[in-house]
Amino acid sequence: MKQVAHIIATLTLIGVIAGGSLSLVNNWAAPKIALNQKAETERAIYLVHLDGKRYEEIKNAGFEVYKVFNEADSSVGYSLVYSGNGFQGKIKLMIGFAEDLNKTTSIEVLEQSETPGLGTKILEPPYKDQYNGLVTTPAIKLVKGVEPSNPNEVQSITGATISSRAVVTIVNEGIAKLRTIENKGASK
Protein backbone atom coordinates (compact mmCIF):
# COMPACT_ATOMS: atom_id res chain seq x y z
CA MET A 1 0.00 0.00 0.00
CA LYS A 2 2.80 2.32 0.97
CA GLN A 3 4.54 1.52 -2.26
CA VAL A 4 1.43 2.33 -4.30
CA ALA A 5 1.19 5.69 -2.58
CA HIS A 6 4.84 6.33 -3.37
CA ILE A 7 4.32 5.49 -7.04
CA ILE A 8 1.27 7.72 -7.33
CA ALA A 9 2.99 10.57 -5.53
CA THR A 10 6.07 10.35 -7.77
CA LEU A 11 4.10 10.31 -11.00
CA THR A 12 1.85 13.14 -9.85
CA LEU A 13 4.79 15.27 -8.82
CA ILE A 14 6.62 14.69 -12.11
CA GLY A 15 3.45 15.46 -14.04
CA VAL A 16 2.81 18.68 -12.15
CA ILE A 17 6.38 19.91 -12.57
CA ALA A 18 6.44 18.99 -16.26
CA GLY A 19 3.09 20.65 -16.90
CA GLY A 20 4.06 23.77 -14.97
CA SER A 21 7.36 24.29 -16.76
CA LEU A 22 5.75 23.66 -20.13
CA SER A 23 3.08 26.25 -19.52
CA LEU A 24 5.77 28.77 -18.56
CA VAL A 25 7.71 28.15 -21.77
CA ASN A 26 4.54 28.19 -23.83
CA ASN A 27 3.51 31.55 -22.38
CA TRP A 28 6.79 32.94 -23.59
CA ALA A 29 6.83 31.20 -26.97
CA ALA A 30 3.20 31.30 -28.12
CA PRO A 31 3.06 35.03 -29.04
CA LYS A 32 6.38 34.74 -30.87
CA ILE A 33 5.22 31.71 -32.84
CA ALA A 34 1.99 33.50 -33.81
CA LEU A 35 4.01 36.52 -34.89
CA ASN A 36 6.33 34.37 -36.99
CA GLN A 37 3.41 32.72 -38.72
CA LYS A 38 1.78 36.05 -39.44
CA ALA A 39 5.03 37.50 -40.80
CA GLU A 40 5.39 34.51 -43.07
CA THR A 41 1.85 34.77 -44.47
CA GLU A 42 2.38 38.48 -45.02
CA ARG A 43 5.65 37.89 -46.82
CA ALA A 44 3.97 35.34 -49.10
CA ILE A 45 1.02 37.64 -49.80
CA TYR A 46 3.34 40.36 -51.07
CA LEU A 47 5.53 37.86 -52.94
CA VAL A 48 2.71 37.10 -55.33
CA HIS A 49 1.68 40.77 -55.54
CA LEU A 50 4.90 42.74 -55.76
CA ASP A 51 3.08 46.09 -55.86
CA GLY A 52 0.94 45.21 -52.82
CA LYS A 53 1.19 47.47 -49.79
CA ARG A 54 -1.87 46.57 -47.73
CA TYR A 55 -4.10 43.52 -47.48
CA GLU A 56 -7.45 42.58 -46.07
CA GLU A 57 -8.58 39.10 -45.16
CA ILE A 58 -11.83 38.07 -46.77
CA LYS A 59 -13.82 36.52 -43.95
CA ASN A 60 -16.23 33.58 -44.10
CA ALA A 61 -14.63 32.24 -47.27
CA GLY A 62 -13.95 28.84 -45.72
CA PHE A 63 -10.31 29.13 -46.74
CA GLU A 64 -7.56 31.72 -46.53
CA VAL A 65 -7.92 34.49 -49.10
CA TYR A 66 -6.71 38.08 -48.99
CA LYS A 67 -7.58 41.12 -51.07
CA VAL A 68 -4.42 43.09 -51.82
CA PHE A 69 -4.21 46.85 -52.33
CA ASN A 70 -1.38 48.91 -53.82
CA GLU A 71 0.15 52.18 -52.71
CA ALA A 72 -2.75 54.25 -54.11
CA ASP A 73 -5.04 51.98 -52.08
CA SER A 74 -6.77 50.53 -55.12
CA SER A 75 -7.22 46.79 -55.33
CA VAL A 76 -4.62 44.86 -57.33
CA GLY A 77 -6.15 41.42 -56.90
CA TYR A 78 -6.25 38.47 -54.56
CA SER A 79 -3.77 36.31 -52.72
CA LEU A 80 -5.22 32.88 -52.15
CA VAL A 81 -3.84 30.10 -49.97
CA TYR A 82 -4.92 26.77 -51.40
CA SER A 83 -3.67 23.23 -51.04
CA GLY A 84 -4.10 19.89 -52.71
CA ASN A 85 -2.44 16.51 -53.08
CA GLY A 86 1.00 16.34 -54.59
CA PHE A 87 3.08 13.26 -55.32
CA GLN A 88 3.80 12.23 -51.74
CA GLY A 89 2.05 14.76 -49.57
CA LYS A 90 0.18 18.00 -49.56
CA ILE A 91 1.24 20.97 -51.65
CA LYS A 92 0.23 24.33 -50.21
CA LEU A 93 0.36 27.30 -52.55
CA MET A 94 -0.02 31.03 -52.27
CA ILE A 95 -1.61 32.06 -55.56
CA GLY A 96 -1.82 35.65 -56.73
CA PHE A 97 -4.79 36.52 -58.94
CA ALA A 98 -5.47 39.68 -60.87
CA GLU A 99 -8.56 41.69 -59.93
CA ASP A 100 -10.79 40.07 -62.62
CA LEU A 101 -9.54 36.55 -61.79
CA ASN A 102 -8.64 35.94 -65.43
CA LYS A 103 -4.91 35.98 -64.84
CA THR A 104 -2.50 34.80 -62.17
CA THR A 105 0.18 37.25 -61.11
CA SER A 106 2.50 34.54 -59.75
CA ILE A 107 2.55 31.61 -57.36
CA GLU A 108 4.59 30.75 -54.30
CA VAL A 109 4.91 27.28 -52.79
CA LEU A 110 4.41 27.45 -49.02
CA GLU A 111 4.63 23.77 -48.16
CA GLN A 112 5.51 20.65 -50.10
CA SER A 113 7.06 17.23 -49.63
CA GLU A 114 7.82 16.33 -53.23
CA THR A 115 10.73 14.18 -54.36
CA PRO A 116 13.96 16.15 -53.85
CA GLY A 117 15.54 17.06 -57.16
CA LEU A 118 12.51 16.08 -59.24
CA GLY A 119 9.20 17.27 -57.80
CA THR A 120 10.92 20.07 -55.92
CA LYS A 121 11.55 21.70 -59.29
CA ILE A 122 8.08 23.19 -58.88
CA LEU A 123 9.88 25.63 -56.55
CA GLU A 124 12.32 26.74 -59.23
CA PRO A 125 11.90 29.60 -61.71
CA PRO A 126 11.72 27.62 -64.99
CA TYR A 127 8.48 26.04 -63.82
CA LYS A 128 7.21 28.58 -61.33
CA ASP A 129 7.69 31.62 -63.57
CA GLN A 130 5.24 30.12 -66.06
CA TYR A 131 2.53 31.30 -63.68
CA ASN A 132 3.56 34.93 -64.01
CA GLY A 133 0.66 36.41 -65.94
CA LEU A 134 -0.85 33.08 -66.88
CA VAL A 135 -4.34 33.22 -68.38
CA THR A 136 -6.85 31.25 -66.31
CA THR A 137 -9.90 31.26 -68.60
CA PRO A 138 -10.30 28.70 -70.03
CA ALA A 139 -8.79 26.55 -67.27
CA ILE A 140 -5.01 26.13 -67.15
CA LYS A 141 -3.72 23.14 -69.12
CA LEU A 142 -0.57 21.10 -68.65
CA VAL A 143 1.38 20.27 -71.81
CA LYS A 144 4.16 17.67 -71.97
CA GLY A 145 7.30 17.81 -74.06
CA VAL A 146 6.29 20.72 -76.27
CA GLU A 147 6.55 24.45 -75.70
CA PRO A 148 3.26 25.97 -74.51
CA SER A 149 1.47 27.48 -77.52
CA ASN A 150 -1.56 28.99 -75.79
CA PRO A 151 -1.55 31.62 -73.02
CA ASN A 152 -3.28 29.20 -70.62
CA GLU A 153 -0.74 26.39 -70.95
CA VAL A 154 2.00 25.30 -68.56
CA GLN A 155 4.86 23.04 -69.56
CA SER A 156 5.33 19.96 -67.40
CA ILE A 157 8.62 19.20 -65.62
CA THR A 158 10.35 16.15 -67.12
CA GLY A 159 10.22 13.33 -64.57
CA ALA A 160 7.77 15.13 -62.32
CA THR A 161 4.50 15.09 -64.22
CA ILE A 162 2.45 14.34 -61.13
CA SER A 163 3.86 17.30 -59.18
CA SER A 164 3.45 19.60 -62.21
CA ARG A 165 -0.12 18.47 -62.69
CA ALA A 166 -0.87 18.83 -58.97
CA VAL A 167 0.09 22.52 -59.03
CA VAL A 168 -2.10 23.13 -62.10
CA THR A 169 -5.03 21.36 -60.43
CA ILE A 170 -4.61 23.32 -57.20
CA VAL A 171 -4.56 26.64 -59.07
CA ASN A 172 -7.60 25.68 -61.15
CA GLU A 173 -9.55 24.49 -58.11
CA GLY A 174 -8.56 27.55 -56.16
CA ILE A 175 -9.80 29.90 -58.82
CA ALA A 176 -13.08 27.99 -59.14
CA LYS A 177 -13.62 28.27 -55.38
CA LEU A 178 -12.73 31.94 -55.40
CA ARG A 179 -15.20 32.60 -58.23
CA THR A 180 -18.09 31.05 -56.30
CA ILE A 181 -17.25 33.28 -53.33
CA GLU A 182 -17.09 36.31 -55.59
CA ASN A 183 -20.43 35.48 -57.20
CA LYS A 184 -22.06 35.07 -53.81
CA GLY A 185 -20.66 38.42 -52.77
CA ALA A 186 -21.96 40.07 -55.94
CA SER A 187 -25.47 38.64 -55.60
CA LYS A 188 -25.84 39.94 -52.05
Binding site: I7, A18, V25, K32, N36, P116, G117, L118
Partner: protein, 230 residues
Protein backbone atom coordinates in the same frame (compact mmCIF):
# COMPACT_ATOMS: atom_id res chain seq x y z
CA UNK B 1 32.29 -2.53 -6.43
CA UNK B 2 32.96 -1.97 -10.06
CA UNK B 3 36.04 -0.19 -11.25
CA UNK B 4 35.53 3.57 -11.53
CA UNK B 5 36.65 5.06 -14.81
CA UNK B 6 38.06 8.57 -15.03
CA UNK B 7 35.71 11.48 -15.72
CA UNK B 8 37.44 12.15 -19.02
CA UNK B 9 36.77 8.58 -20.15
CA UNK B 10 33.07 9.01 -19.37
CA UNK B 11 33.07 11.75 -21.99
CA UNK B 12 35.41 10.31 -24.61
CA UNK B 13 33.88 6.84 -24.67
CA UNK B 14 30.82 8.28 -26.41
CA UNK B 15 32.92 9.60 -29.28
CA UNK B 16 33.88 6.21 -30.62
CA UNK B 17 33.95 3.31 -28.17
CA UNK B 18 30.18 3.39 -27.60
CA UNK B 19 29.33 5.80 -30.43
CA UNK B 20 25.50 5.85 -30.61
CA UNK B 21 25.40 5.34 -34.37
CA UNK B 22 28.24 2.93 -35.07
CA UNK B 23 28.40 0.90 -31.86
CA UNK B 24 25.05 1.11 -30.11
CA UNK B 25 23.14 1.41 -33.43
CA UNK B 26 20.60 3.66 -31.72
CA UNK B 27 18.60 6.57 -33.09
CA UNK B 28 18.64 5.26 -36.64
CA UNK B 29 15.35 6.89 -37.65
CA UNK B 30 16.40 10.55 -37.32
CA UNK B 31 19.88 9.64 -38.54
CA UNK B 32 18.60 8.31 -41.82
CA UNK B 33 15.86 10.86 -42.26
CA UNK B 34 17.43 14.26 -41.61
CA UNK B 35 20.93 13.85 -43.03
CA UNK B 36 20.15 15.19 -46.51
CA UNK B 37 22.53 18.06 -45.71
CA UNK B 38 25.31 18.68 -43.22
CA UNK B 39 23.50 21.57 -41.54
CA UNK B 40 20.36 19.49 -40.92
CA UNK B 41 22.51 16.82 -39.32
CA UNK B 42 24.19 19.35 -37.04
CA UNK B 43 20.90 20.94 -35.99
CA UNK B 44 19.30 17.60 -35.27
CA UNK B 45 22.30 16.44 -33.25
CA UNK B 46 22.44 19.69 -31.26
CA UNK B 47 18.75 19.48 -30.39
CA UNK B 48 19.16 15.84 -29.40
CA UNK B 49 22.26 16.61 -27.33
CA UNK B 50 20.43 19.37 -25.47
CA UNK B 51 17.60 17.02 -24.55
CA UNK B 52 20.04 14.21 -23.77
CA UNK B 53 22.17 16.30 -21.39
CA UNK B 54 19.29 17.84 -19.48
CA UNK B 55 17.22 14.70 -19.19
CA UNK B 56 20.29 12.71 -18.11
CA UNK B 57 21.07 15.33 -15.47
CA UNK B 58 17.54 15.39 -14.12
CA UNK B 59 17.06 11.64 -14.22
CA UNK B 60 20.36 11.16 -12.42
CA UNK B 61 19.34 13.63 -9.70
CA UNK B 62 15.96 12.03 -9.05
CA UNK B 63 17.06 8.43 -9.69
CA UNK B 64 16.82 7.43 -6.02
CA UNK B 65 13.27 8.68 -5.50
CA UNK B 66 11.69 7.12 -8.55
CA UNK B 67 10.16 3.71 -7.79
CA UNK B 68 11.50 1.00 -10.06
CA UNK B 69 8.05 0.08 -11.42
CA UNK B 70 7.35 3.48 -12.93
CA UNK B 71 10.85 4.53 -13.93
CA UNK B 72 10.30 4.27 -17.70
CA UNK B 73 7.09 6.29 -17.48
CA UNK B 74 8.86 8.94 -15.42
CA UNK B 75 11.80 9.12 -17.82
CA UNK B 76 9.50 9.52 -20.80
CA UNK B 77 7.62 12.40 -19.15
CA UNK B 78 10.91 14.14 -18.28
CA UNK B 79 12.30 13.62 -21.79
CA UNK B 80 9.05 14.72 -23.43
CA UNK B 81 9.06 17.92 -21.39
CA UNK B 82 12.54 18.86 -22.60
CA UNK B 83 11.69 17.96 -26.19
CA UNK B 84 8.57 20.13 -26.12
CA UNK B 85 10.63 23.01 -24.74
CA UNK B 86 13.16 22.61 -27.56
CA UNK B 87 10.36 22.44 -30.12
CA UNK B 88 8.67 25.60 -28.82
CA UNK B 89 11.93 27.53 -28.58
CA UNK B 90 12.93 26.54 -32.10
CA UNK B 91 9.54 27.51 -33.49
CA UNK B 92 9.79 30.88 -31.75
CA UNK B 93 13.42 31.72 -32.47
CA UNK B 94 14.74 29.58 -35.33
CA UNK B 95 11.83 29.36 -37.78
CA UNK B 96 13.81 28.16 -40.80
CA UNK B 97 15.58 25.42 -38.90
CA UNK B 98 12.38 24.23 -37.28
CA UNK B 99 10.78 24.01 -40.73
CA UNK B 100 13.68 22.03 -42.13
CA UNK B 101 13.63 19.51 -39.29
CA UNK B 102 9.85 19.38 -39.31
CA UNK B 103 8.34 16.43 -37.50
CA UNK B 104 11.70 15.08 -36.33
CA UNK B 105 11.97 17.40 -33.36
CA UNK B 106 8.88 16.02 -31.57
CA UNK B 107 10.18 12.56 -32.45
CA UNK B 108 13.30 13.10 -30.30
CA UNK B 109 11.03 11.92 -27.48
CA UNK B 110 11.24 8.39 -28.80
CA UNK B 111 14.88 8.66 -29.89
CA UNK B 112 16.33 5.54 -28.30
CA UNK B 113 19.67 7.21 -27.60
CA UNK B 114 18.05 9.31 -24.90
CA UNK B 115 16.02 6.58 -23.24
CA UNK B 116 18.94 4.22 -23.77
CA UNK B 117 21.40 6.45 -21.91
CA UNK B 118 18.81 7.22 -19.22
CA UNK B 119 18.18 3.54 -18.55
CA UNK B 120 21.74 2.28 -19.04
CA UNK B 121 23.69 5.09 -17.44
CA UNK B 122 21.94 8.06 -15.84
CA UNK B 123 19.73 5.89 -13.62
CA UNK B 124 22.82 4.25 -12.09
CA UNK B 125 25.39 7.05 -11.89
CA UNK B 126 25.82 10.43 -10.24
CA UNK B 127 24.80 13.66 -12.02
CA UNK B 128 28.33 14.72 -13.03
CA UNK B 129 29.12 11.41 -14.70
CA UNK B 130 25.69 11.32 -16.32
CA UNK B 131 26.14 14.75 -17.86
CA UNK B 132 29.59 13.84 -19.17
CA UNK B 133 28.27 10.59 -20.57
CA UNK B 134 25.37 12.44 -22.22
CA UNK B 135 27.71 15.06 -23.68
CA UNK B 136 30.04 12.37 -25.02
CA UNK B 137 27.18 10.50 -26.65
CA UNK B 138 25.77 13.76 -28.01
CA UNK B 139 29.09 14.73 -29.57
CA UNK B 140 29.51 11.22 -30.97
CA UNK B 141 26.04 11.55 -32.50
CA UNK B 142 26.92 15.00 -33.84
CA UNK B 143 30.11 13.80 -35.53
CA UNK B 144 28.36 10.81 -37.10
CA UNK B 145 25.46 12.92 -38.39
CA UNK B 146 27.80 15.60 -39.68
CA UNK B 147 29.93 13.12 -41.62
CA UNK B 148 26.89 11.30 -42.98
CA UNK B 149 25.16 14.56 -43.90
CA UNK B 150 28.31 15.95 -45.54
CA UNK B 151 28.85 12.91 -47.74
CA UNK B 152 25.22 12.94 -48.87
CA UNK B 153 25.23 16.70 -49.45
CA UNK B 154 28.49 16.71 -51.44
CA UNK B 155 27.48 13.91 -53.79
CA UNK B 156 23.76 14.65 -53.80
CA UNK B 157 23.77 18.40 -54.31
CA UNK B 158 27.44 19.37 -54.91
CA UNK B 159 27.58 21.56 -51.80
CA UNK B 160 28.72 21.37 -48.20
CA UNK B 161 27.04 23.61 -45.63
CA UNK B 162 25.59 25.51 -48.59
CA UNK B 163 28.96 26.19 -50.29
CA UNK B 164 29.53 24.61 -53.66
CA UNK B 165 32.52 22.27 -53.60
CA UNK B 166 32.07 20.19 -56.75
CA UNK B 167 32.10 21.80 -60.22
CA UNK B 168 28.90 22.28 -62.20
CA UNK B 169 30.09 19.58 -64.59
CA UNK B 170 29.46 16.99 -61.89
CA UNK B 171 25.94 15.65 -62.18
CA UNK B 172 24.50 15.37 -58.63
CA UNK B 173 23.49 11.86 -57.65
CA UNK B 174 19.84 12.27 -56.91
CA UNK B 175 19.74 8.99 -55.01
CA UNK B 176 22.02 10.39 -52.30
CA UNK B 177 19.41 12.84 -51.05
CA UNK B 178 16.62 10.27 -51.31
CA UNK B 179 16.07 7.79 -48.45
CA UNK B 180 17.94 5.08 -50.36
CA UNK B 181 21.08 7.24 -50.28
CA UNK B 182 20.91 7.36 -46.49
CA UNK B 183 20.87 3.58 -46.24
CA UNK B 184 23.69 3.19 -48.74
CA UNK B 185 25.94 5.79 -47.09
CA UNK B 186 25.31 4.61 -43.55
CA UNK B 187 25.75 0.97 -44.57
CA UNK B 188 29.08 1.68 -46.24
CA UNK B 189 30.27 3.81 -43.32
CA UNK B 190 29.42 1.05 -40.83
CA UNK B 191 31.06 -1.50 -43.09
CA UNK B 192 34.31 0.44 -43.24
CA UNK B 193 34.21 1.12 -39.50
CA UNK B 194 33.81 -2.59 -38.76
CA UNK B 195 36.54 -3.47 -41.24
CA UNK B 196 38.90 -1.13 -39.41
CA UNK B 197 37.96 -2.59 -36.03
CA UNK B 198 38.40 -6.16 -37.25
CA UNK B 199 41.79 -5.34 -38.72
CA UNK B 200 42.97 -3.81 -35.44
CA UNK B 201 41.74 -6.81 -33.51
CA UNK B 202 43.56 -9.23 -35.78
CA UNK B 203 46.78 -7.25 -35.53
CA UNK B 204 46.55 -7.29 -31.74
CA UNK B 205 45.90 -11.02 -31.74
CA UNK B 206 48.83 -11.76 -34.00
CA UNK B 207 51.12 -9.59 -31.92
CA UNK B 208 50.13 -11.52 -28.80
CA UNK B 209 50.62 -14.89 -30.46
CA UNK B 210 54.05 -13.78 -31.62
CA UNK B 211 54.89 -12.66 -28.10
CA UNK B 212 53.79 -15.98 -26.59
CA UNK B 213 55.92 -17.82 -29.12
CA UNK B 214 58.92 -15.71 -28.20
CA UNK B 215 58.66 -16.52 -24.51
CA UNK B 216 58.30 -20.15 -25.47
CA UNK B 217 54.74 -20.79 -24.36
CA UNK B 218 53.79 -24.13 -25.86
CA UNK B 219 50.09 -24.34 -26.49
CA UNK B 220 48.25 -21.22 -27.66
CA UNK B 221 44.62 -22.28 -27.43
CA UNK B 222 41.47 -20.24 -27.92
CA UNK B 223 40.94 -20.09 -24.15
CA UNK B 224 44.34 -18.60 -23.55
CA UNK B 225 43.66 -15.91 -26.10
CA UNK B 226 40.24 -15.21 -24.70
CA UNK B 227 41.71 -14.75 -21.26
CA UNK B 228 44.14 -12.20 -22.65
CA UNK B 229 41.18 -10.35 -24.08
CA UNK B 230 41.79 -10.65 -27.80
Amino acid sequence: MKKQVTLLREFTKGLWEINPIFKQILGMCPTLAVTVSAINGIAMALATTFVLVFSSLLISIVRKWIPNQVRIASYIVIIATFVTIVDLVMKAQFVELSKALGPFIPLIVVNCIILGRAEAFASKNNPLRSVLDALGNGVGFLISLFVLGSIREIIGSRTILGYQVLPNGFEPWLIMILPAGAFLTLGLMMGFANMYIERNKNLEREALIAQYKRVGREEITEEVLKEAGV
